[in-house]
Assembly symmetry: C2
Homo-oligomer: 448 residues x 2
């Protein structure tokens, strides 16, 4: 088998066999096939697409390039949630302890933020002492002890993805839904899951801006997961404005703690309950009937209301070396030295928020990364006082900027001032988009 | 400017500026842009195509990556011919001396054979002592002295093409007509030409099997050459069967000598006269009127008939270190030790020849290369006694194999026995294809 012939096959729109795809992926991982051949193949995949069988083979080959975690000794179902990322997208910190409190196991391996989007690991690391780089043994130990554990990518999991992602990043081949699907699913399936809930974001702050692109990716991931024997459902959710009110690492931890206390922004609470309900449902809870999902929603609400989610979060923070007192005293989280407000230039109603720009403002403050190895400042960020549909008076604060550097403040302010579109319109005319736009795979997802 | 953004632009079907293309090509040549980015871009070009302006910019950037020869001190027009290659395609050895004998300059830089196709350099090197690796100074000296000189690719000419071609070869991006056009035209335009005649082959033994692909490439090359201020015409010619009767390096030199003596196969003679006529016409000969091309055909015929083409060939061979006596005594060319005949299994008429397979038979005998660095045996090859349309008796020789190794003979014989399709049909029913199928750019080509 020669790599050049496989590149040609994909270039001409042919269907590759699982063996051929395995040859390319194992060759790439072992550095036996040169990068210039892999990148030509990646571009051919981006422009030609893949069949479902090819995609399943690619996902399996990437999964098989590394270790698969084995939690089969843990008898309750293993579930996880993955989000395609956005601004203020912080549900993982609520969902992992919530599902663990319901008796499921959540072995969550997460990523870091890049550009305008945040990353779960960066948020967790805002908690003083919290370690995200556990060994796989320690990961297992925390998971067994408290039902959830949250760590970063390890060298053992899907090394092919690391190799391919590094190439995709510099060859304009990040955007292929097939390559995105294989990247996400190979890593998630390595977690030894029984079920996976996908939160696929769409809108101006999402990676997939257009709903049809997000829906297509969601369908690919649901199908691929099921072909590999997992229960998978995808929720298409809105990222046309930031989720919740806080953007920035420590600020987002604080908002998650509020949600687990039964407080916090409505949209964030609603999405947490909905995603949690699906995790519980796919984990076999809620009973078998037509009301199963509704039962799971209620169960999720009760777990929050009873304080069990927060207790579980506290336990996980402690087990992963973090300062558990932040849970009861969020002021222990890193605090920015200064605050400044962005005031509304006019009276009216918020018609739209430039979501990606708001994420970039947080990045500019030091809360995110422009390049992969940039250091980040956990304390800085934004608190949004007005979101789409809210009415505002001239001179009223639109948001508060938490900052540590004057120069960065001005750059962020310039972005934020251009991020609010204020119109003289009725509430109905500027209603925000539905938070949960569609559930993909709901019917089959109910079964186990 | 970042390479990844340029890759994305081409991936999405955008039109790149000359500056952007120049950035990529100079970065690739200087090894400043990594090969994995260049190969992703090449695949995007193959699948997305290029506009005429992009193609002209690519050709110019590749040309500018190296030296342009300057023969402006030589006052007669500089003309050349380039063929896309085929089996028995040997016209260069006739055309260069013929056009030089007409008073034009022919600074011809040629390539080697690969796979089933032969290469001009390999043929010239069948002449004992003939040097094809002249320095550019010696090239200039021979050209000035006798009006034609034939050498191999040098490191100074279009180094970007060497870099890109090596990558294309292993990334499935050889076949793009845009990349082929830029590769050919950048090298040919570096010769400091005034005019270029292109012989674009089509048929089973050609690189472009389908006439529409060959015609498209021909149009691209004619347009690109003209955008760069050159007089260019392309002839679409048949490669559904070998050209002439001899295939193999020394055997092809012998056949060219025969043509220059006024002998040799009709199709080869006809094509030489036609291509020469266009070279002379684009070189400004034949007068300005409606009969100019016909006048040039007559002039080409006269130059052969008078022996001036052969004299010029003899002179060039001597100046390039070769044994000029081969011209009068072709037996001095390398001779294979053995000969064997392939006999017709039936009576009938030759309905088709598997042209590529016949080229491969010569390659298998040792006359060609499977890989770039294979050594070749100048003596071996085939002499075809029957071509398409010829009638044949059972047991009559179809071709003679000149060989040096029994094992290779058998492999070649197996290929050749399957290469003749013999039918019981009338001459009209199995008439071969027109030798010259189309002239592209003829109207504009007439002007100067």
């Amino acid at each position: 088998m020669r790599a050049v012939d496989l590149i040609r096959k994909k270039r001409d729109g042919g269907e590759m066999t699982a063996e051929e795809i395995g040859f390319l992926i194992s060759g790439a991982t072992a550095d036996e096939i040169p990068e210039y051949q892999i990148s030509a193949w990646l571009m051919a995949v981006l422009l030609r697409g893949m069949t479902r069988a090819e995609l399943a083979a690619l996902t399996a080959a990437m999964l098989d390039s590394g270790e698969r975690l084995d939690f089969s000794a843990l008898l309750a179902p293993k579930v996880d949630k993955h989000s395609t990322g956005g601004v203020g997208d912080k549900t993982s910190l609520v969902l992992a302890p919530l599902a663990a409190a319901a008796g499921l196991y959540v072995p969550m391996i997460s990523g870091r933020g890049l550009g305008h989007t945040g990353g779960t690991l960066d948020k967790l690391e805002a908690i003083p002492g919290f370690k995200t780089q556990l060994s796989l043994q320690d990961f297992h130990r925390v998971l067994e002890a408290c039902g959830c554990a949250m760590i970063g990518q390890t060298a053992e999991i899907a090394p092919a993805d690391k190799k391919l992602y590094a190439l995709r990043d510099v060859t304009g081949t990040v955007e292929s839904p097939y390559l995105i699907c294989a990247s996400i699913m190979s890593k998630k399936l390595a977690e030894g899951l029984d079920a996976l809930v996908l939160d696929v974001k769409t809108g101006s702050g999402a990676f997939m801006k257009r709903e049809e692109d997000a829906a297509f990716l969601a369908e690919l991931m649901v199908e691929t997961g099921r072909l590999m024997g997992k229960r998978v459902v995808a929720l298409l959710t809105d990222m046309d404005q930031p989720l919740g009110r806080n953007v920035g690492n420590a600020l987002e931890v604080e908002e998650c703690i509020a949600v687990m206390r039964g407080e916090g922004a409505e949209d964030l609470k609603d999405l947490c309950v909905e995603l949690a309900a699906w995790m519980l449902r796919l984990g076999g809870l809620g009973g078998g009937g037509a009301n199963a999902l509704e039962n799971c929603r209620k169960l999720a609400g009760e777990i929050i209301a009873s304080g069990r989610a927060l207790d579980k979060f506290r336990e996980m923070v402690r087990l992963q070396g973090g300062d558990e007192h932040v849970v009861d005293d969020p002021q222990r989280l890193p605090q920015a030295r200064y605050r400044a407000e962005v005031l509304s230039p006019a009276a009216g109603r918020i018609a739209a928020l430039a979501c990606e720009q708001i994420g970039l403002a947080s990045c500019v403050l030091g809360g995110g990364r422009e390049k992969k190895d940039d250091a980040i400042d956990a304390a800085v960020g934004l608190v949004l006082h007005k979101k789409v549909g809210d009415s505002v008076e001239a001179g009223e604060p639109l948001c508060t900027i938490h900052y540590n550097s004057k120069a960065r403040l001005e750059a962020a302010r310039a972005l934020l001032e251009k991020s609010y579109r204020i119109e003289n319109a009725s509430a109905a005319a500027v209603a925000g988009r539905e938070l949960i736009q569609r559930v993909i795979g709901a019917e089959e997802g109910k079964g186990s």
